[in-house]
């Protein structure tokens, strides 16, 4: 009868291999948001057009909404833009924009050229609001519920598949709760 002891290296190795196999499925770049189920951090920004009361965290209360972090220098934002226009046209969920680490002139030009899907756009030139939101790149999109709590964060451009898989079910849930 073989001593169990000599099987220890094999057992340890198999455990490691299992770990590595599981590890293959995760993306080391994606860090989870720390703000899930927490209220949107307070902020008050000037808006893009500058002619109204600006854009603050109060605006995110009352409706289920999306907060999309974007910049004119970001190629991925250009890629997801048509999708955002579609969603804005459908009109079932308001999309607010956070213009991150960008210049007002550049983003105005970008939105004029590509059309504006946003109900409001806040200018976060310094990137501080982005840091408060734990933003690590653009584009990122947050789902915010009626009470102003962040319920989900998606890093990367929103495609049709992404929308159907990640956003639709959640939005249905959130809106279902009266």
């Amino acid at each position: 009868m073989l001593p169990a002891r000599s099987f220890i290296p094999l057992a340890a190795f198999l455990a490691v291999a299992a770990l590595l196999a599981i590890g293959l499925q995760n993306d080391p770049h994606k860090i989870p948001s720390m703000l899930i189920d927490k209220p949107t951090p307070d902020f008050a920004l000037t808006s893009l057009t500058g002619d109204d009361n600006g854009f603050s965290h109060h605006d995110l209360k009352g409706n289920v909404s999306l907060l999309n972090v974007f910049a004119s220098w970001c190629p991925g934002c250009r890629v997801e833009h048509p999708m955002l226009m579609q969603l804005a046209a459908r009109g079932d969920v308001p999309i607010y924009g956070l213009n991150w680490k960008d210049r007002q002139a550049d983003s105005k030009r970008w939105l004029a050229k590509n059309q504006n899907p946003y109900a409001r756009v806040g200018l976060d030139e310094s990137g501080r609001v982005g840091i408060d939101l734990g933003v690590t790149g653009v584009p990122e999109t947050f789902v915010i519920d009626r009470t102003g709590r962040i319920r989900y964060r998606y890093p990367g451009p929103i495609t049709q598949e992404v929308w159907q898989e990640h956003f639709e079910p959640l939005l249905k849930d959130l809106r279902g709760l009266q």
């Binding site: 290296p9 094999l10 190795f13 590595l20 995760n26 770049h29 860090i31 989870p32």
Partner: protein
């Protein structure tokens, strides 16, 4: 044409590796000279064809054949020739080809130089080795074919990442691969021993040259990587505990344990299971390292493109090879009888302690590297494990090992008395004390850790002297006798003391860098200067220059020490139009004991530039010490005893222990 020939050559090599594995394992009982001869030819043949394939790929790169996909993705006509060649392995497919080239090189070497191996062992070793080759050649053909053609070849390629356009790329990967792919031979020997079901003292003697060679190359490879990072990355960092750095460091640690463990098998026929296990483990760690770099499991500056499908294939290969080897180990290891017992205080005892500490150190680095994956799996939390962790775990484990390093070699085999052993090391202890006092004085008593580690460095270096003195009986016998003893001492002894002393030098280097490095940044206009650590650094001028495939802004610096001109350096900010990348080249001045390091930073648009100046005491010692260790290893390789034929088997049977 060359690409097709290359692919054809790989496929032939694959079939050769197939027969190379099947023949000895199928003919297990009936083996004999014929099987061994066949397998030898196969191993040589495999190497030849892979070399042909490698030549074809190099040809494609050198002639800028952009119809070959990897060339188009990674090369450019304007690239200097050296980087066209080294670019062959600057990408995943090419580097895998280099990998199997070196794998087959070791196989061919055992075939050509392993005359003193018994036929059956040689056949089994090369058979197992062939299996590894088979696995990786299949991997290449199926997932990483370097010879795929593009239907519409572009007029010019994408160019090579500027970071890789550096002589470092020409030498760091080849040495690294010679090292950790070289450990495949230890793996093959271990598995062959398990297949045969016996391990005798001569097995260890046959394995050791191959382990030693791989270890030396790996030491050089890691050192080169560290030095390359230092001058390339622009802030004088030389070790980051990055997952891929760890991936080469773990086989090094395990390989060091293996090297020392094999010694005990050879001399005392003990620690056999441990040695076999280490033989398997070291190469498995190399394989896991290969997996890490190419699978996208962890972020690292070293990663090739993230490709989980390739990762899955490599993982499957690891499961088969390591899993298979460890299963065989579980079944066969209990049969390996251990030989003569020994006391705790003895050379074997010291080597066992060495084994334990190095294995624990390896496990620690492994734990730190892979724990983030575990945490991610457990919940939605992501953590980082960085240098602070390793400083608090790895370093405390290494300290007892460093203390033991001079003691081990001076102990007698089987049994010794600790007091007399320490007595032989008295000179080293005195040197240790002196170093501690000097450091205490220099640091004004503020830095206890630095004092401690400088004392350890002295302990190691002077411990080697003490061992030499003891060996040659200097002082207690006539000088002519000492000379005679020195002349007749085997080379392995000199290798040992040189390598151990080298470690001391490295420790001194690390201590210096960690504790006494200084830096300063200032915005300077041409003509202005900054002062640091007794040096005056003046930005003389900034001008534009053009390189072969980049444009640069070059800053010229005059460095003075105590009012007298000391050095002139320049630093560049380079822009590579093909890749649209900006990089910085540092100006470094070394006197082999300390470095001055200056970089030109961003301009403020108003006539000033950000200038960074670093003073790095003892930095070169880190690498010089490591190269010394490797030199010690190479010297040991020339020891006559490692190359003569197998020792005579004693008449009383396989497990007889030489009476001593």
């Amino acid at each position: 044409m060359a690409a097709e020939a290359g692919l054809f050559a790989i496929i032939i090599a694959l079939f050769i590796s197939l027969v190379q594995s099947i023949v000895p394992l199928a003919l297990m009982r009936r083996g004999g000279p014929a099987a061994a001869a066949f397998v030898r030819q196969a191993a040589i043949g495999q190497f030849v064809f892979i070399a042909v394939a490698f030549g074809c790929l190099t040809y494609a790169f050198v002639t800028s054949d952009f119809s070959v996909q990897v060339v188009a993705a990674n090369s450019h006509t304007l690239k200097p020739l050296l980087y066209k060649v080294s670019g062959v392995w600057g990408n995943h497919e090419g580097s895998m080809l280099l990998w199997v080239l070196i794998l087959s090189l070791f196989g061919a070497a055992v075939a050509l130089f392993g005359d003193n191996l018994p036929d059956r062992l040689q056949a089994n070793v090369l058979g197992v080795h062939g299996l590894i080759g088979l696995g990786f050649l299949t991997f290449i053909v199926i997932t990483s074919n370097p010879f795929t053609r593009l239907i519409n070849p572009p007029a010019d390629g994408n160019g090579l990442n500027p970071i890789l356009q550096d002589p470092g790329l020409a030498i760091h990967p080849p040495f690294l691969y010679l090292g950790y792919v070289g450990f495949s031979m230890a793996f093959s020997f271990s598995v062959a021993a398990l297949i045969e079901g016996k391990v005798d003292a001569s097995w260890a003697r046959w394995v050791r040259p191959w382990v030693l060679a791989a270890w030396c190359f790996l030491t050089v490879g890691i050192t080169l990587g560290s030095a390359w990072a230092y001058y390339t990355l622009g802030w004088g960092g030389w070790w980051f505990w990055d997952p891929v750095e760890n991936a080469s460091f773990m086989p090094w640690l395990a390989g060091t344990a293996l090297l020392h463990s094999a010694l005990v098998v050879e001399r005392r026929h003990a620690l056999i299971s441990w040695t076999i296990l280490l033989g398997i483990l070291t190469f498995s760690l190399s394989l896991i390292g290969t997996f890490l770099v190419r699978s996208g499991v962890l972020t690292s500056v070293h990663s090739f493109a993230q490709d989980p499908s390739r990762g899955a294939f490599i993982l499957a290969l690891i499961l088969l090879s390591t899993g298979g080897a460890l299963t065989l180990f579980a079944i066969r290891a209990p049969r390996l009888r251990n030989g003569a017992p020994f006391a705790i205080i003895s050379r074997e005892g010291g080597l066992t302690v060495n084994n334990i500490l190095l294995t624990t150190a390896t496990a620690t680095v492994f734990l730190g590297t892979f724990y983030p994956i575990f945490v991610d799996m457990m919940g939605n939390d992501k953590i980082s494990v960085g240098p602070p962790y390793y400083n608090m775990t790895f370093v405390p484990i290494m300290v007892p090992l460093l203390l033991a390093m001079p003691i081990g070699p001076i102990l007698k085999w089987k049994r010794d008395d600790i007091r007399s052993a320490m007595g032989r090391l008295k000179p080293a202890a005195y040197a240790c004390l002196v170093a501690a006092i000097i450091t205490l004085v220099v640091t004004l008593g503020h830095n206890v850790l630095a004092t401690f580690f400088m004392a350890i460095a002295a302990w190691l270096v002077f411990g080697s002297f003490a061992i030499l003195v003891h060996r040659t009986r200097i002082g207690s016998v006539p000088l002519s006798k000492s000379f005679w003893l020195a002349r007749t001492t085997p080379l392995a002894f000199y290798g040992l003391i040189i390598a151990h002393a080298g470690m001391g030098v490295t420790i001194a280097g690390i201590t210096g860098m960690t504790n006494w490095a200084t830096e300063k940044i200032e915005m300077l206009r041409p003509g202005q200067s900054l002062q640091l650590s007794g040096y005056d650094v003046r930005l003389r001028s900034v001008g534009d220059i053009a390189g072969p495939n980049y444009e640069a802004e070059r800053g010229y610096f005059d460095i003075a020490r105590r009012g007298k001109p000391f050095a002139q350096l320049y630093s560049e900010r380079r822009f590579y139009p093909v890749r649209q990348q900006q990089t910085t080249a540092a100006g470094i001045r070394t006197n082999l004991i300390s470095n001055l390091y200056v970089t030109l930073g961003d301009p403020d648009g108003k006539g000033s530039w950000a200038v960074r100046f670093y003073y790095h005491p003892f930095m070169p010692l880190v690498w010089l010490g490591a190269l010394t260790m490797s030199l010690g290893g190479f010297i040991s390789l020339f020891d006559r005893r490692l190359r003569v034929g197998a020792p005579q088997r004693s008449a009383t049977g396989l497990f007889a222990v030489p009476a001593e």
